[in-house]
Subunit: 222 residues, 2 copies
């Protein structure tokens, strides 16, 4: 068999969250060679002896660079070509993660990460602008029929909070009545029976929910 020059293979992660009511990404300062010191997506090489898959590498990177564990991670796409990395022909398998801001707060306050609103995260090294745009598109496309936006919240939430999260993730307003009906019918959420209230004060308290078993995926067939 002919031997070919091996391309560079890396993993990048787009850590998505809601910060101050806006869909945001967590960026890290590059410590390594190209673009050292610049803000970019957390990423890195495969640790051949340690990572059991590219997805596992993505989780390791999130853990090491943003102290994030136990969160939703999904493969996005693989970006490749001779010019995207100055070191040579490269392929990067990109993942995105979805977390409540709470989980990122201490890393942000420690300066490990910098949050940017997705629309303002431009001019980044490599093709990270393109990767972020693809992640946002995925969230918007899948958001309306999946539980991804719900993962922007903690494990318990009220319906108004959930509706707000869907609105922010989808970038469009959400019909509360239709949302409720659909979410309940499809089993996206379940009431937390005991405690029913929450919220800051002066108004009617809302029921607390958790994610249900269903992910609200449904299909359309002819």
């Amino acid at each position: 068999m002919t031997e070919y020059e091996k391309p560079i293979f890396t993993v990048d992660v787009v850590p998505i969250t809601i910060h101050a009511g806006r869909l945001s990404v967590a960026l890290v300062e590059r410590t390594g060679d190209p673009y050292r010191g610049r803000l970019a997506l957390p990423g890195g090489f495969i640790h051949v002896g340690e990572d059991t898959s590219a997805g596992a590498a993505a989780r390791r990177i999130l853990r090491d660079k943003a102290s994030l564990t136990q969160i939703y991670v999904e493969q996005l796409s693989t970006f490749s070509g001779p010019d995207r990395d100055p070191r040579g022909w490269s392929a990067s398998t990109a993942y995105f993660s979805v977390t409540p801001y709470d989980r990122l707060k201490s890393a942000a306050e420690a300066g490990m990460i910098t949050l940017m609103v997705v629309e303002e995260a431009v001019g980044l090294p490599f093709d990270h602008d393109v990767i972020i745009a693809a992640a946002v598109r995925r969230v918007r496309d899948k958001g309306a029929y999946s539980d991804i936006p719900a993962r922007l919240l903690g494990p318990e939430f009220t319906l108004p909070e959930l509706i707000a999260a869907y609105g922010i993730a989808l970038g469009s307003s959400v019909n509360p009545a239709a949302f409720r009906k659909k979410a309940m019918d499809r089993g996206l959420i379940q009431e937390v029976p005991g405690a029913q209230r929450r919220g800051a004060g002066t108004t009617k308290p809302a029921q607390i929910y958790r994610l249900g078993d269903s992910q609200m995926i449904y299909d359309r067939r002819f």
Copy 2:
């Protein structure tokens, strides 16, 4: 920067077609080292001086191994891990292509490729069983709201042919009246105004259509 052992990076393609009324994949006999002589998905290494992206490599592989050019190719997912390739830690970005059988016929008759019904393509080298299953799932998931099944046909087709293709691709029967209405309303297909007939003989001839501008993607929002 620490140097890490580079993983192997390859590209694999799942060439999907309809053969004898069944959803099928084209496999090739491996000429290279692991699993030499076995049937497997067409695939290979990046040619660093030649390929402008992994998708371009996928197209090159289709051209070289199955004489296929100018067809629909879509990135599926990247499969990776320490054990999927006996040569070591590897990642393979998988693509699938969708073509009418006509385009594969001469390669099949020349013995370059072997067609197998997707359900029967099991026990293949590497994790190609998993890759094929993922491709079939993608076609079935996206099929109901995209033009992918239409690409299993040539550029001109009748409505009954199109409905049959959707049925085979989706693995379920299709309501002709509903399909027609939806496909026309959404602009999936356009009448070919001049010639209106075709078909073998003894029955009413059908109108010929082409793909329209729309790809019939639509979204659901709350």
